[in-house]
Subunit: 165 residues, 2 copies
DNA sequence: TGGGCATTCTTGGGATAGCATGGGACGGCA
DNA sequence: TGCCGTCCCATGCTATCCCAAGAATGCCCA
């Protein structure tokens, strides 16, 4: 599965095309469908989410899980798969941002690609800045630190696999 | 089996014809009966459900399962198979929406096709918007996020296959 | 260490093919 | 014989493909 990192800002031309950052393309090259990315509107932000075929397969599989209640499944099927748009890149590595998605995210002239490991997001650059500022403010206020998070997560994993269950 | 994604809004002409979205047709092309889709009224919404031959076969088979109680089986047989209408597409990839189905869903001038992986739905566009708005409100209220659901599902899968049982 | 060269990436525009949509004609059924 | 459904053909639009060039980066050599 592709891994997406860093942030890149590219231009959107009159036809709604954007270059996928070269680094992302290199990641995509290793997946089962290198020239196809899947885009959908984020559930939680005014931004777009993107992923490769392999990630979608995992997601699709997790929908079969009996742990999900009917509401959640319906929601995902409507909001993710119903909104999901497979976009194939041209020979130059560009994709066309579907109109409704570009509008949803408020993207007109530039698009910011943010790597989020298994997925990435596409933001309107100014909206991204605002979002980042808000997040940073929270970090300071809650006094969050990286080492703390790692410690917390690994402690949780230990209790689940070892003592628990 | 065909996979249906994205949402497409197409016009219904005076004769009641609608183009099946090209993407859906491409999916259908791989199935055992490419030019036939099956339509029936949704159990839960004022909308239509659609699927290909292969999906119906699977559904039919699952009715044989002893895990299903008589009520459920009766319900499916009455409301799905009893209402099912096979519709064949013309050379241009259009289908004629059966009158009673169009009326049931309130479809007159436009029809919104929404992909739901193995099946799809056909809505009257305004009704769909209302439905989505209601769903989105739930997403916000329950504070649902995609990664959360994936995590939940995969954790469940792990405990079922590995530690549990 | 600095400059020049080559490659890759991003961006732009034009041409072509496919799709959605509309109307008309033919054939079958009532 | 009239009506309805199906098939066929035509067209405008949109999206896709193809070709081209500027810019930035990294590499190599002097």
């Amino acid at each position: 599965m592709a891994v997406f990192l860093s942030t890149y800002v590219n231009k959107v031309d009159r036809k709604g095309r954007v270059s996928i950052p070269a680094q992302f393309r290199q990641s995509l090259a290793k997946t089962s469908a290198p020239s196809t990315v899947y885009l959908w509107p984020s559930l939680n932000h005014q931004a777009l989410e993107g992923a490769d075929q392999d990630y979608l397969d995992v997601l699709s599989e997790s929908l079969e899980s009996p742990d999900l209640d009917a509401d959640e499944r319906d929601m995902i099927e409507t909001f993710i798969f119903g909104k999901l748009i497979p976009v194939s890149s041209d020979a130059e590595g560009r994709i066309v941002l579907p109109k409704e998605l570009a509008e949803f995210a408020g993207i007109t002239e530039e698009a910011a690609f943010i790597g989020r490991r298994k997925t990435f997001q596409i933001w309107e650059p100014d909206a991204l800045k605002a979002h980042e500022a808000a997040l940073r403010e929270q970090v300071v206020r809650k006094d969050i630190s990286l080492s703390q998070i790692v410690a917390k997560a690994s402690r949780g994993a230990a209790s689940r696999s070892g003592e628990g269950a």
